[in-house]
């Protein structure tokens, strides 16, 4: 299978064995069905064992898996319809962030999300999910539209970070992100954020302020990439696994720190192994969240959102 990791080796080996046995012609002298069954039990155990004890760095690797479902996959599988809306009306349309109107059950939503490419050509177009200021400004424009029509905003997060390039800086990458933070903090409509893969620092945060922030079980969210942190603090890129642990970027740790509100389970082995099941979990989580938030009066929702972020931090005061 495409993009297997070292830690998945026992799983991949068992899978290969089962595949091999299944391919044996019907006429094969020995009945292998019992053997297949026992291997499948082993496989199930191996998956449970490996995926419930992932290190933070393994979590990062799965979050970056090239076959992992991306924003448009979730939109296709979760939403009943989707009309993509383009452009920031100032400079360009940034394909690294997609946005548009979507229908989910009885609700129309404004959906926003980082979009990575599946292959090299598509990644050049999507810039590997690293947005320019135009992406954040498109999101800003459409969030204000969501507010105007009282549509809940659903934001899918999946970016290694905001793009560090000349044009991005010239056109105010920092300013674009900062304005989104200020706007999202007081946007008068419910905002739900779901980190589906990489939550890369300010580039993620620029569309990730919300009433409820959730993470898929094998995603990460960090102030800096583990590689970047390793290069600065350890002066060594290869210390990224250590940095990943030290930075506490896995969902469980972020939940404990009060930075996210809930973890959305993934199918065994990761979302890339079963898109439909991953999408079902995401849909369920979104529906629950939308129901919860719909019942809260707007004024109260604004107050709750402010308080939620207001209390995040850890310090001493004499």
């Amino acid at each position: 299978m495409n993009g297997g990791f070292d830690f998945e080796k026992p799983i991949l080996e068992l899978e290969a064995k089962i595949e091999g046995l299944k391919k044996l012609p019907e006429s094969h002298a020995v009945d292998v069905s019992d053997e297949i069954k026992s291997l499948e039990v082993k496989l199930d155990l191996a998956r449970k064992e490996i995926y419930s004890n992932l290190t933070p760095w393994q979590c990062v690797q799965i979050a970056r898996h090239p076959q992992r479902p991306y924003t448009l996959d979730y939109i296709r599988l979760v939403m009943d319809s989707f009309v993509e809306l383009a452009g920031d009306r100032l400079f360009a349309n940034d394909p690294a962030i997609v946005a548009g109107l979507a229908r989910m059950g009885a609700r129309t939503l404004m959906v926003i999300g980082h979009q990575k490419g599946r292959d090299t050509r598509e990644n050049l177009h999507r810039n590997f999910g690293s947005a320019h200021p135009e992406g954040y400004r498109k999101a800003h424009r459409l969030m204000k539209m969501a507010e105007k029509f009282r549509l809940p905003v659903v934001s899918f997060i999946d970016t290694p970070g905001a793009y560090p390039g000349v044009g991005a800086e010239e056109r105010g990458q920092a300013e674009a992100i900062a304005y989104n933070l200020r706007t999202m903090a007081e946007l008068e409509t419910p905002i739900i954020v779901i980190i589906i893969g990489e939550g890369g620092s300010g580039g993620a945060l620029g569309i990730a302020v919300g009433d409820e922030v959730m993470m898929l079980a094998h995603s990460y969210y960090s102030v800096i990439s583990p590689e970047g942190c390793a290069a600065i603090l350890w002066k060594d890129h290869s210390k990224a696994p250590e940095a990943a642990s030290t930075l506490r970027i896995a969902p469980k740790e972020l939940l404990a720190l009060g930075i996210i509100d809930r973890i959305v389970p993934e199918p065994l082995g990761g979302a890339h192994r079963n898109y439909e099941r991953a999408a079902r979990e995401v849909k369920k989580a979104l529906a629950d969240s939308l129901d919860r938030l719909a019942d809260i009066p707007m004024k109260e929702l604004m107050e709750k959102r402010y308080t939620k972020y207001r209390r995040i931090g850890s310090f001493e005061e004499e």
Binding site: A162, Y163, P164, G165, V166, A168, E169, E170, R171, G172, Q173, A174, E175, I177, A178, Y179, L181, R182, T183, A185, E186, S201, G202, L205, G206, V209, Y221, S222, V223, I224, G228, C229, I232, L233, W234, A243, T246, L247, R248, I249, L254, L257, I259, R305, Y306, Y309, R310, I312, G313, S314, F315, E316, E317, E318
Partner: protein, 302 residues
Amino acid sequence: MRFFSKHIKVRKRDIPAGLWTKCKSCSAMVTQSALESNIMSCPECNYLYPLPAWKRLRTLFGEGEFFEIDSRMHPNDPLKFVDSMPYPLRQQSAEKRAGIPEAVVTGIGSLGGFAVACAAMDFTYMGGSMGSVVGEKITRLIELAIEKRIPLIIISASGGARMQEGALSLMQLVKTSAALARFNRKRLLYISVLTNPTTGGTTASFASLGDITIAEPGALICFAGPRVIKQTIQQDLPEGFQKSEFLLAHGMVDLIVGRKELKAKLIEILTLLETPKFTNETIRGVVAQNGGVNFGPGPLEA
């Protein structure tokens, strides 16, 4: 409520040692006192050396015109972060180096008779990075400015979010921006002053949200640092890239003002916007009502 007078020592670690010193930028030989009297900028080439928070405040406020708040907040170590050194040890050495317990000093002051809420960041404390304390102090300052209906001035000097507090640091971007959303709605004035350097998460939050944005000449102001960009694009960067003058040309800042002229320019803007004036006694009263404020600024020299 707590009034106390704390004498803060600012170390001269960032100032080239000795009587005569070679300028980092133009290699001219300059005397320490010439550097000092020129507010830590080279008299020959105007290169701006980092200006510690209290020294900066001293350029804006006279004796008894600035009152620090939240001076007793210290960082802790929520992640038990250890790289080549445990985070608490880094805090200790930063405090020793900077002479203050965190990377920002906040307070209320009288600027030419105008009451202002003012924050000065200090690059000498862990590169002016924003962790929980910086986020909280800035947020409290904004909230105080809202309550007292006074203008806000934040002088940034920061390498961005502090890695040692992980995602907690990242969330300070939201916290400060959310407070500014409320501040903005009250139709109060926020002047953001960007100094060398202002980068990363600080630029991507409160530093970019001023009604008026002032940059110091020649300051590096950016989201991603030039080294990261060069690595990413594998090309040479344009001349003067990410410097104040470059940002002005690209429409990202309102004006460039030198260190010596900053006070007069701030007062000019406050006057044009008809900000109410207060006497020092009134300001002191406001401060006393609010509690937990100490008398400042502390002596600037060791």
